[in-house]
Symmetry: D2
Amino acid sequence: MKNVAIIGGTGYGAIELIRLIHSHEYMHVKKIISHSQHGEELAQVYPHLIDFIEGPMEELEIESLKEDVDIVFFATPAGVSKKLIPKLEDSTVQCIDLSGDLRISSQEQYENWYGKEAAPQHTLDNAVYGLPEIYKDQVKKAKVLSNPGCFPTSAILGLIPALSHKIIAANPIIIDGKTGVSGAGRTPSSMTHFSETNDNVKPYKLGKHQHIPEIDQYLSVMAGESISATFTTHLIPMTRGLICTMYSQLTKDISTDEVIKLYQSYYQSHPFVRIRKEGDFPATKEVYGSNFCDIGLHVDQRTNQLIIVSVIDNLVKGAAGQAIQNVNLMNGWDEQHGLSTIPMYP
Amino acid sequence: MKNVAIIGGTGYGAIELIRLIHSHEYMHVKKIISHSQHGEELAQVYPHLIDFIEGPMEELEIESLKEDVDIVFFATPAGVSKKLIPKLEDSTVQCIDLSGDLRISSQEQYENWYGKEAAPQHTLDNAVYGLPEIYKDQVKKAKVLSNPGCFPTSAILGLIPALSHKIIAANPIIIDGKTGVSGAGRTPSSMTHFSETNDNVKPYKLGKHQHIPEIDQYLSVMAGESISATFTTHLIPMTRGLICTMYSQLTKDISTDEVIKLYQSYYQSHPFVRIRKEGDFPATKEVYGSNFCDIGLHVDQRTNQLIIVSVIDNLVKGAAGQAIQNVNLMNGWDEQHGLSTIPMYP
Amino acid sequence: MKNVAIIGGTGYGAIELIRLIHSHEYMHVKKIISHSQHGEELAQVYPHLIDFIEGPMEELEIESLKEDVDIVFFATPAGVSKKLIPKLEDSTVQCIDLSGDLRISSQEQYENWYGKEAAPQHTLDNAVYGLPEIYKDQVKKAKVLSNPGCFPTSAILGLIPALSHKIIAANPIIIDGKTGVSGAGRTPSSMTHFSETNDNVKPYKLGKHQHIPEIDQYLSVMAGESISATFTTHLIPMTRGLICTMYSQLTKDISTDEVIKLYQSYYQSHPFVRIRKEGDFPATKEVYGSNFCDIGLHVDQRTNQLIIVSVIDNLVKGAAGQAIQNVNLMNGWDEQHGLSTIPMYP
Amino acid sequence: MKNVAIIGGTGYGAIELIRLIHSHEYMHVKKIISHSQHGEELAQVYPHLIDFIEGPMEELEIESLKEDVDIVFFATPAGVSKKLIPKLEDSTVQCIDLSGDLRISSQEQYENWYGKEAAPQHTLDNAVYGLPEIYKDQVKKAKVLSNPGCFPTSAILGLIPALSHKIIAANPIIIDGKTGVSGAGRTPSSMTHFSETNDNVKPYKLGKHQHIPEIDQYLSVMAGESISATFTTHLIPMTRGLICTMYSQLTKDISTDEVIKLYQSYYQSHPFVRIRKEGDFPATKEVYGSNFCDIGLHVDQRTNQLIIVSVIDNLVKGAAGQAIQNVNLMNGWDEQHGLSTIPMYP
């Protein structure tokens, strides 16, 4: 049994970690750390947790982390983990960073897109990008793990088989992203105010989203050529769920059925990716609460485009679930441990 | 390991049973039976089930049920189980009826409210009403179990401690019910059409709801006097969740704090009922996907009323979860087995 | 053509006034006054207003109000209009207060429920409560008008015919209120955060809602005896719409049909109240965007209760629309002028 | 005053026409015709219409149409108007077809995409495509008017200025469409069932949507070269609203500001198109209930793409509002008559 600390205890990432770890046999949440609300009971902030959490949230102390826990999850806003993870590098603690701090390998790029000072270069270099369907071997050996962003998870899983088999051109690639509101976190704002978000679709951060360099970086590495994808994001009146609809030019004559077979083969040993049959496209609710990424494929013969639809639950495969999948691999446990539930439907 | 059959395989009750049984170590879904869609794969109707269900849905055959399974769940519309359960009475099969067919002990009352012919009287007499917080001893010995309705579960759990301690008058009792749309099932209708249900509250079945006689019958039995509660229902633009706000006249001078202590004491050995602190009232989402019934209490001194707020997930504690809780007790398993998950929030 | 100023320009009350006054032939919005955002264009805050509003929002200046406008709408939080209206008393300006500052005739009661210092007693005494279906004659002569709260409008219109005909007992009266989120205004908070408000019903302010003394005061006056109603409120995942389901004891043997006729007669000269037929209960969306109050009635013979369902659009009949209805009467215009639109459905 | 008949009286197109015509001074709804529900009162189907509609719905009789009305709106499913409009060709009745029957000029294309027999070729040839921002002169002279589809309206208005100025390549053009559920009409189905549509995004009809040939046809005509756009559609959990996010390759070096100026100039005499400022992208709710099409523009310099966001209310500018705009032009009335309302927000 490994002891776990969660930093950023009152955010949605943290409470989803708590929910999932509760069903995990090899991990136990020992500390919940909150900068703003330490001393309070988490169940007073989140009454759904009544009877599940004992004791108050704690203040951060690096030394007690090193002594008391084996694994630290950083469910923190950008700019926090980059300062804390270097302080844990001399310990045996496994660090899982759910923020974007360690995702961009270039300090300059990070600073351009995030508008904050980057992590030390050696911390960036040591961090493993935790997309296990692509980097499973590296993840198994990781000590510092950078958990992917929600949109990059959906987009990269959807595009990589086609790119690596070079059945689509590297440019232009269009990624039209649509997300539920929980992706914006728990801090109230006019952007996420119910009265104006309900019955509405809002495009946001066009051309400015901090997931753009993350998507480009990993697509480029995996395709072996430089990719600049066009990426937009839309806020949808739903709590959970994220969908990327992606468009790219086919480089060869290929049928939908052949593309589906190629994807099935690519992901055959990856239990969390489900490839849909011809004519069947995933809806976000069909992965609700689960760690699945479901992918639908369509060759649009009129326009010679490959259309890829990729859905995840932004809080599970897009955050906490993928973090646990990574921890499972890092510790030699079954990759699916604690994550083998059926999506909640309807 | 017990083998299970689910009859009514394409309804929401059935798929919620499948979701919950998937995490249950002592049950295995052997047969999914569908009158209208046998021969089809359930995952084609419900793609979220891809990789979880093998083989097609089957046609009903009573003899093969008797041979192949230990437990049968009836997730069927009114009027089906009353015909089938009598045919299983000479076998060892445990029958769990999620429909209303066996809930009303008087044939005449059933026929008045349901507009259908009632079950045989001996079948009604043998069925145990599966509200384990009240009837745990009977449930443990049941062979035919009548699983309570969603509104009655919420209403009865909310009212019984006050009624049995006689701190409220038996009449008038007002129950204002509000439910998510999944309670109406999966058959499309103008009542549940998104465009008209979204951004709308619709009162329905005022004075006519078939849960009225069920609520009255069990409240009366448990209070030891005849109760006719006023009960209304409202359709709310949400998928899951049910809330009853209840009003009754206090018979004695008592504080909110004292009422809370009385409720905590009443439910202290019942893990699925959580009594909230003074000033804290449960929201439906705080039990989402879980088997909890959360109850908030308020003594309104201006009007000498006790206000009780009781919330459940209509598909879990209001249907499939409670069914599994009952099966756990009927088989000597831990009451919480397979049901100890944290509510999904947000 | 009367010139109008709206104070509290960035709230929902203000923008609903702007929407409705745009279709009003005898009023013109001359000034939009915002304490926090003067100097800005309202269409930058609310892009739906592009092409409809000219010039920036202004700072409040009492003297220029007196000179430049004929009518001032106060769409301000509690505690603002009580200070400003006394400063306009020596002018000819008509003041319409959409806040609660002038609704409670007792200073002590206001201070108990609102937690703020009350308006001067003579200002309270001079203000007319603007529920035109009850106080039309007084409204016609008003110079300072106190526009009713959203819940009181729905509750009082639903109860008054039965109370004034004494077909129900004055106590206990139960009012179960359910409201869309726009009633909570535009300031973001965790209460109105989309991720937690969506797919959820939240009871709030039980026993503490500031509309309680307003409801009691006017019910008591009109019934001619002291009434303390039990009133609860629930936040519903919808933007607009408000519904009160009300329960009271019948004092005589009367049928649903007779009650309906009594209500039709009571409201026969009031175009904004629509009484539904037997068995037909209004849904909130059926008055969406309109100034209607629709009322459904049911005599529950099992329990001898009269059940009343009353729905309004909280921003129209519950705020801006009723304000305009009042202004129409105060100026001798057709009561329905600018308000005769069909509800937007679906 | 012109007398109007609406055929297809119980659909959403019809009731939106009724709502809008109620505020129109030169039209009066004389007949509401329903094939399935003639003899019934429309207000029994739609209680929001109580007090607005007199008399029952009628059965269709061509001769009485010719005698009694001046304008006929066909708010009918595909396959109806193509049979009826030819029967009215020898009269003076103006025909406005809100269905897709007359939108595709090639009979073969219609039959391929709609799976039904096409209208007579001369009827197709005589019908004017009612997108007044492009075809105003033709609309003014039309007797048979084919009202555009909802997605084509949004997509074409968004793309035409860029295409006609040749600042983007004609191929590939990507149109990612997202629509509220009312676009699917009023007939209940599992696709539009609340429990499964809520909190969900569903891609549908990928590569098969019947709006594809309509978009291609008019883009090609107006661009002067053959265009095959890639078009996808997604069902969003909202009632009204439609958004197209569109992607195309820039053919020249141009800034966002320059593109905005070009669009402003293109639409300067078209009051229903609003071009947003740089960095401001329209949300669907910002045109709710109105006839506006709001367009946001972004030059994505990283990828040399022009991103266009175009939103409408699918029932207004995407159906009934545009129909009235067309009728206004056909009769020499002010183009904005009856349509100059402010969007309903929030």
